[in-house]
Structure formats: C-alpha cells, structure tokens
C-alpha cells in the first residue's frame, strides 16, 4: 500500500547516517552526538543531525521530548552536556558570541520589553546587534510585519498576535542566516496564526534562510518543510523528506513512534 511504501522509504533514509554524502556543500548546522542532561535527568540522548543551507526543517514531537532544549542549544542559550554543535562550520562551544549574530530566534516567550514602545524595542536590539543603518531597517521590518501604525505604542498594549509579530521583526532584524522558531504560534487564534505563518514563510524564503521550526500543527508544518523530524524521548526517532508526506501519512507514523511505550 502507499503508506507502507512511504514508510519503508522513510526508514531507509532515517536509518542511514545524517543526511549528506560527500560532494554536498557543507551543512549550515551540524549536530554530533549532542546530549543534554539536567542533573541526572537525560533530556537529549544523542542527536546527530545535519541541516543544509536554505533548508527548512520542521521538528515534531510530544511534550517533554526535548524540542525546546534542542532549540536552546542551537541558539547558544544552553550548553550541551556532550557532543558538538557546529554552525556555518564554526564550533558553538568556542565561537558562540560570533555565531549568535547570525541566528534569529522566535519562541513562545516574546523576549521583548513591555515598558518600551515597539520602535524602541527594535532600536535596542538593533544596537545590540550592531546594525549599520538601524532606522531604515527598523522601518522596513515594521512594514513587513504590519506594525507601522502601532510602533510608538508600548508593547504592553499589544495583543498577543502583535507581540509575536514584533518578536519576528526582532528575530529577523539583523538578517540572520538561520532562523529558529519554537512554537511561535502558541496562544494565537487561527487567524493570527495564519498571518504569522504567512509572514514567516515569506521571510524565510527570501535570502535563502535556514529555518528550523518546532510546531504542533501537522498540516502547516508538513506543507512548509523540506524535511521533517520526529523527536521522541530525547532522540530523533524519524527523519525524512517532507515531499509527498501529508498529515494522513504522517499521523500513523507519529502515533507509532510516540505511542509505542518508552
């Protein structure tokens, strides 16, 4: 049956070593045997993953699988207990300060300042990232996320959707090569979520950004992804091309890997 064939093909890919044969351009992100423990609790149990330049990888997984921990490690916010992470060929352990300038992160926490205006928030981060022409860039971002009207209002007065849009503006302000998205649509009504996804898709496609997204919405995730990964219990249980993989095919896979015991 179609589903079986798909499954077999996926397994071939996921059983092999991390994607990338000799002759491919060097990956943007390389994770080798990355582990993370909090005290005695192992959250990530050995992640091996390559993400190519311009690729869009979507990660699914049940709560507690370690998705946010993985994103935090990718963002340089958390140090892995073991293994190495390379971004753009540089080792994160030694070049963290520099690498972070090429990363943009949107998480479910906005990371913005309530008592500053939208504009002031962007100006602050533009300063931190050492942008050359801040005002022009800020205006352009505000236009792209549709917040020009409210730019002089305090972030405290923004709706959740607006806050997330500003968060995206902040994340892309310095034109990062890599975008990390950790369930950015949390807490948004379907309309706002839709707007957000469109925005992200647009910003992602331009400049050939490498995007890693964590999301719970199967449909959206599968439609925008180049590759799909399933993180279960701190390990990548499943990794495959997203092409032709719709929610109907993916659902049973998800249940299989997640549902079946430890």
């Amino acid at each position: 049956m179609a589903a079986d064939a798909v499954l077999r093909q996926r397994e071939d890919v996921s059983n092999g070593s991390p994607a990338g044969e000799a002759g491919d351009p060097p990956p943007m992100i390389e994770l080798r045997k990355v582990t993370k423990a909090f005290g005695r609790k192992m959250v990530l149990r050995g992640i091996d993953l390559n993400v190519a330049v311009g690729e869009s990888l979507v990660i699914f997984g049940p709560n507690g699988a370690g998705k946010t921990t993985l994103i935090r490690i990718l963002a340089g916010l958390s140090r892995p207990t073991g293994g190495t992470l390379r971004v753009g060929g540089l080792n994160m352990a030694t070049h963290s300060d520099g690498i972070r300038g090429h990363l943009g992160v949107v998480s479910h926490a906005p990371l913005l300042y309530d008592s500053l205006t939208g504009e002031e928030n962007l100006r602050f981060f533009a300063s931190l990232y050492g942008l050359a022409n801040p005002e022009a860039r800020i205006m352009s971002m505000l236009e792209q996320v549709g917040l020009v009207q409210r730019r002089k209002d305090l972030v405290r007065t923004y709706s959740r959707g607006m806050v997330q849009r500003l968060a995206i503006a902040r994340a892309v302000l310095h034109d990062p090569e890599v975008l990390l998205l950790d369930e950015p649509d949390t807490g948004l009504d379907p309309q706002a979520a839709e707007m957000l996804h469109d925005l992200l898709a647009r910003l992602g496609r331009e400049s050939d950004r490498t995007i890693i997204t964590i999301t719970h919405s199967l449909e959206r995730g599968l439609s925008t992804a180049d590759r799909v990964a399933l993180l279960v219990n701190g390990r990548i249980a499943f990794l495959a091309d997203a092409q032709g993989l719709g929610p109907q095919e993916f659902r049973p896979l998800y249940d299989q890997y997640v549902g079946g015991g430890r």
Partner: protein
Amino acid sequence: MQRSEQTLTTLTVIAGLAVLVAAYLALVVAPPALGPSGQNLGPDLTAAQRIIYFHVPSAWVSMLAFAVTMVASIGYLRTGNQRWDIAALSSAEIGIAFTIAVLGSGSVWAKPAWNTWWTWDPRLTTYTIVFLLYVSYFMLRGSMDDPARRARFAAVYGIFAFVSVPITFFSIRWWRTIHPVLFDAQNFGLSSGMKPVFFYCLATFTLLYMVFLLHRMRLEETREEVEELKEQLGY
C-alpha cells in the same frame, strides 16, 4: 577501592590518637601562660588561656577549609567535574563546624579574661562574618534544585565569599584604629615552652580536617551513587 578505604581508616585512627595526645599536651603538659610583663595570671585565667591550643587551630582550619572551598570552586568552574563541587561542599561543612568552634571558644575565653561574653575585636568579628558567609553558602545551595546550576552558583559565591574575608578583616581593623576597643583578643605571647605544644595542636587539627574532608567526600560520593542507581531502577 579497598586500599583507599584502608588508608582512610588508618588515617582516622592516627588522627584520633593525635587528638588525644593533643588534649593531654594542651591541658597537662604545656606550661602555664604568663601575662605580658611576666606576671602570674591567676587560676581562672591561667586555665582558660589553655583554650588557645583549641581556639587558634580551629581558626586555622576554618580558614583552610574556606580556602579549599574556593579552590575547589575554581576547579569546578574550570572543569565542570562534579568531584570539585563535592570537595567544595564537604570542605564548607567542616569549615562551618570549626568556625562555630572558634566563636564558641572565643566566647568562653572572653568571659574569664575580660568579664564579657563577647568582644568585637577584628579577629572575632571577621570570624563572625566568615560564619555568616558559610551560612549564606549553604542557604544558596539549599534553595536550588538543579544540581549543575547549584554547583555553579555555589562555586561563584564561594569565590566571592573567600576573597571578601581578608578585605573584611582589614576594613574592620581600620575602623578599630579610629574606635579602639578596650581588649585585644590575643594579648598573650607564646613562650618557648608553649610553642611546641601549640604547633603540635596546629598539625593535629590540620590532620583532623583532612580526615573529616575525606570521610565527608566519600559519603557524598556514595550518596550520588545511590541516587544514580535509584534513577536507573526507575525510582
């Protein structure tokens, strides 16, 4: 494993014997101290003065333990190896015990010497602060659950705390030159008869510290092992 256990047991026995010898030397053998101009001190004070063989070595161990905690803290920050954290914690526990001993013995000495339970001279005051620093160290550790973070924070605090001690001592001494306190805690010199006993006690207390430290570290390591086993078995 067995060999180090044997060594530890031997050391413990030696330390125990050394302490007994020290007690005998300090209380019986050592010559009575004389006043600054060589006069007799009177029965109360002469007896109380023997506290010096306990008080000063305790102070020495308290500082030593604190220093070891600082060094272990630096070691932990540099290597991330948990053994350093265990050393820091163990040393701090022993240190706080000896600090209490310093304060207690200082107080017991002060009463017959100056008819007051306490004197705010620089040394005792500094040791009070040292005690507070130790307490803060443990309160910090006690209020954190994540072991790695707890070790890291405690390490940072341990370094700050120890560095502050000499600075604190000097600041209080400075203050004292403006507001002189009537008593000076260590007004008694060590006569030649007293010196050997004194240094023997110093050495004994150092040995005692090391034995305590090794025991405590071993205890902590065993506890860690038990916790790991529990985790593996799914408790």
